[in-house]
């Protein structure tokens, strides 16, 4: 049973709100949300999941070397992303496609990266401060902490104005918690009392290594050891994900220092399309988590609110359209020009870059046409 006594949730899998004194402040944190917001959560979770499936198919059709699925983690991502405020900075790992969508990224840019036409794909400054995917595990935790320190030095937090004070939300996984950088980030965050929330998506697997190899104790307890206020939530409950993040981010931006959320969720799919979970995972475990699917849970809740079937149908159609559009865009992606090898290695001119770029151009021109 992956949940512990400490696991907090607002919604049960049946869609009913949970009665629990411990979640009082979290219930307040979602009080301003209404059915329209919940429909929006549902829409986005569904569209991005459909996008994810399409991307996986496109990989199987040779359009990408690799696809990284986020299936099963939609609630953890959508809730937390909506809880952040417009002025915040977000540091993903490399699986936060829902967060990307919510921050305004055209998801084709993620496909461009995995297809190999770019190592980045977007400008965070033009994507509501949604930073680039980082493939070196846990590296982004330090970058996020550094930027949070900068917010502090700028005096851009702790004024009391929640719509102005900035904070940083950084995502990472259970495997990442073992990397030294993750611990160092917690140390720096605590030392400098940064306006920052560490959002751990414990999806229970680091490729084929289960979380019990990373830690024998619940991971939220580790953060407490570093001195950060820390909470464990049911990550497949989008309302809880929203609430916990809202509370933590607003505390962090208000001068209360860094906070930590462990969101229990599950990587329904493989680590990437190169992986085969059937080689190491238990069928029963998968069944458990499929039975706790985040989108189903929200749908159940919406149904208790009386949302009509036609809404769900329209979302399904919208998701299909989105997927078809991604397919067309993917097939239209062009290879970068060879000059791109040399672009942007440095901001300023560099003689080696200049020389090699010129050489490669000359070299390319020395071949017969059409050879």
């Amino acid at each position: 049973m992956p949940y512990t006594d400490a696991t907090l949730r607002l919604l049960g899998q049946d869609g009913a709100l949970v009665q629990d004194d411990r979640v009082e402040k979290y219930t307040q944190a979602i009080a301003h949300l209404d059915e329209g917001d919940f429909r929006e959560f549902f829409r986005i979770m569904s569209v991005v999941r459909r996008f994810d499936v399409e991307a996986g198919n496109l990989q199987r059709q040779g359009q990408m070397a690799l696809w990284v699925p986020s299936i099963g983690q939609e609630a953890a991502q959508v809730g937390s992303a909506f809880a952040s405020r417009a002025q915040d900075h977000i540091f993903p790992a490399y699986r936060e496609h829902c967060v990307a969508y919510i921050r305004g990224l055209d998801l084709i840019d993620i496909i461009r990266m995995l297809r190999g036409v770019t190592n980045g794909g977007w400008d965070p400054r033009k994507t509501n401060n949604f930073h680039l995917y980082t493939l070196v595990i846990a590296s982004q935790t330090l970058h996020a902490t550094g930027l949070s320190m900068g917010i502090g030095y700028d005096g851009a937090c702790a004024s009391g104005d929640l719509d102005k004070d900035e904070a940083v939300l950084v995502y990472f996984g259970d495997g990442a918690t073992s990397q030294g950088d993750a611990s160092e980030a917690l140390i720096f965050a605590q030392s400098f009392q940064t306006p920052q929330v560490f959002f751990l998506q414990n999806n229970h697997w680091a490729i084929s290594v289960p979380v019990r190899v990373q830690s024998r104790t619940p991971l939220y307890e580790r953060a407490a050891g570093f001195g950060l206020p820390s909470v464990q939530i049911d990550g497949n409950d989008v309302l809880m994900s929203y609430a916990a993040t809202r509370v933590a981010m607003d505390a962090a931006r208000s001068g209360q220092g860094p906070h930590f959320i462990e969101a229990l969720t599950y990587r329904i799919g493989a680590h990437t399309t190169s992986d085969d979970p059937s080689k190491y995972r238990d069928e029963d475990e998968l069944k458990f988590w499929q039975a706790h699917d985040p989108i189903d849970r929200l749908k159940n809740h919406l149904e208790t609110l009386g949302v009509e079937e036609s809404f769900f149908d329209s979302v399904a159609i919208e998701a299909e359209d989105y997927a078809a559009d991604i397919r067309v865009k993917t097939l239209a992606i062009e290879d970068p020009p060879v000059e791109a090898i040399f672009r942007n290695v440095f901001m300023e001119d560099h003689p080696v870059i200049t020389r090699e770029a010129a050489w490669l151009k000359q070299y390319g021109e020395s071949f017969e046409e059409g050879a």
């Binding site: 040779g62 070397a65 297809r115 397919r327 097939l331 050489w359 071949f367």
Partner: protein, 439 residues
């Protein structure tokens, strides 16, 4: 309706092949985009492949149980859907393949879109180049005219092996006219320079004298030379023989001697080798080392080796006494001493008498060969010509070698043709292979 073919993709970052485990569709079935068409097994896992096309399955191109290379077409679909990759070259290939499939030909493997995969028939060949690339930034040639030698103190361009060659041959690169494409000195430039005749080295062309004639009294050395030449020429019937020889090994031997500590400060030249060669050849052909008198031929069993020396007062022939007893080193010292003394005009009459055989060096004037006149009292004289690079056949191929002509004149009263030839051949063979001196 277009025929689309689905090439087996690399589904796992570097896979090269997969086995078709199970087809989920058959020809004639309608297939939608993303509908699973087959299950494959790769080195990593079992994978379901979704169709990239919508349409009617035309043909399953490989069978269940077949192992297929990445990039090989596995299924063709008559479709109305989007192409596999409209903007890459693959679509042409796919269309070609599709075209050929529709005409029932064997479909060649199509290059895969993303990831690896080879295809058995993908052979690597070299793309054809139209022109070589310029060398990177290099030191540019000196500013002088391309074929003029570099001035002393400026930069000479030459590759390391050429620098070594110049050093070994004692050539100053600054004096060599470079003919290389980048203005560098080439091997042949150095060799040409080393072998260059110094014929014009010291002479300026004087102006025409204003007086009509100079009258030089015949006396002294000039008179003695004239008498000797006449006596020699018109008493002894002169015969000259010539042989060309590859003297490269002599040049190398001379170089080694120059570098040897034993010969430090001692002048070493090919002349030294030829003198030693003559002594050895005399030992094998004693008749050449004789004197004719009307009664008897005196064959000398000692060698007083004369060296024709040009002095300011004319040609003299001092000789190295008992040359056959001298080591190579002693001989070198003796020859040098002889030359110095002669140049100073201090050669004694005793030094000029009792010679038994003579050598004359025409090569120092850049001349190939000649017909020397015998020194009176002797029956043989050898001429050393210039040693210079010439084409030579070495092991069946034309190579540049240091070649010289060994010439000798003989008194036919004493030395017949066979002796003459053997003697000259012996001298030449030492020039060709100085190791014979160790005999």
């Amino acid at each position: 309706m277009t025929n689309f073919t689905f090439p087996l993709p690399d589904v796992g970052e570097g896979l090269t092949e997969a086995e078709i485990v199970q087809w989920r569709v058959k020809p004639g079935d309608h297939v939608a985009i993303n509908q699973v068409v087959c299950e494959i097994e790769t080195a990593k896992s079992l994978v379901e492949l979704p169709s990239p096309f919508v349409g009617i399955v035309r043909e399953l191109l490989v069978a269940e149980g077949d192992t297929v290379l990445v990039g090989s077409p596995i299924i063709s679909v008559e479709g109305e859907g989007p192409d596999l990759a409209p903007d890459t070259g693959v679509i042409e290939a796919v269309a070609d393949v599709a075209g050929s499939v529709s005409s029932d030909e064997e479909a060649p493997p199509v290059k895969n879109l993303v990831g690896y995969g080879t295809g058995a028939t993908e052979s690597v060949s070299r793309r054809r180049r139209t022109k070589p690339l310029a060398k990177g930034p290099v030191i540019s040639p000196p500013q002088t005219a391309p074929s003029a030698p570099a001035a002393e103190g400026t930069t000479v361009l030459a590759k390391p092996p050429i620098r070594k060659l110049a050093k070994d041959l004692g050539v100053d690169l600054h004096g060599v006219s470079p003919t290389g494409a980048s203005g560098e000195v080439l091997r042949e430039d150095v060799v040409r320079h080393a072998g260059q005749a110094t014929v014009f080295k010291n002479l300026e062309t004087p102006a025409w004298p204003e007086i009509r004639e100079d009258r030089i009294p015949v006396k002294g050395v000039r008179k003695a030379i004239a008498q000797a030449m006449v006596k020699s020429m018109f008493t002894a019937p002169h015969v000259s023989v010539f042989v060309d020889v590859d003297a490269t090994r002599t040049m190398e031997f001379v170089k080694r001697l120059k570098a040897s500590p034993d010969f430090a400060q001692i002048k070493v030249s090919p002349l030294l080798v030829m003198v030693k060669a003559m002594i050895w050849a005399v030992q094998r052909n004693p008749m050449v080392n004789s004197t004719w008198t009307d009664d008897e031929i005196i064959v000398h069993h000692y060698v007083n080796l004369g060296v024709a020396a040009a002095t300011p007062r004319g040609l003299i022939v001092p000789n190295v006494k008992e040359a056959h007893t001298l080591s190579l080193r002693e001989l070198a010292i003796a020859l040098e001493q002889l030359t110095v003394t002669a140049r100073e005009g201090k050669t004694s009459p005793e030094e000029m008498s009792n010679g038994t055989i003579t050598i004359t060096n025409l090569g120092s004037f850049g001349v190939d060969t000649g017909t020397p006149i015998l020194n009176p009292g002797e029956v043989s004289i050898v001429a050393l010509g210039t040693i210079k690079p010439k084409p030579w056949i070495v092991e069946g191929e034309v190579r540049s070698r240091m070649v010289t002509t060994v010439a000798a004149s003989f008194d036919h009263r004493v030395v017949d043709g066979d002796v003459a030839s053997r003697f000259v051949a012996d001298v030449a063979s030492v020039m060709e292979e100085p190791a014979l001196l160790h005999d």
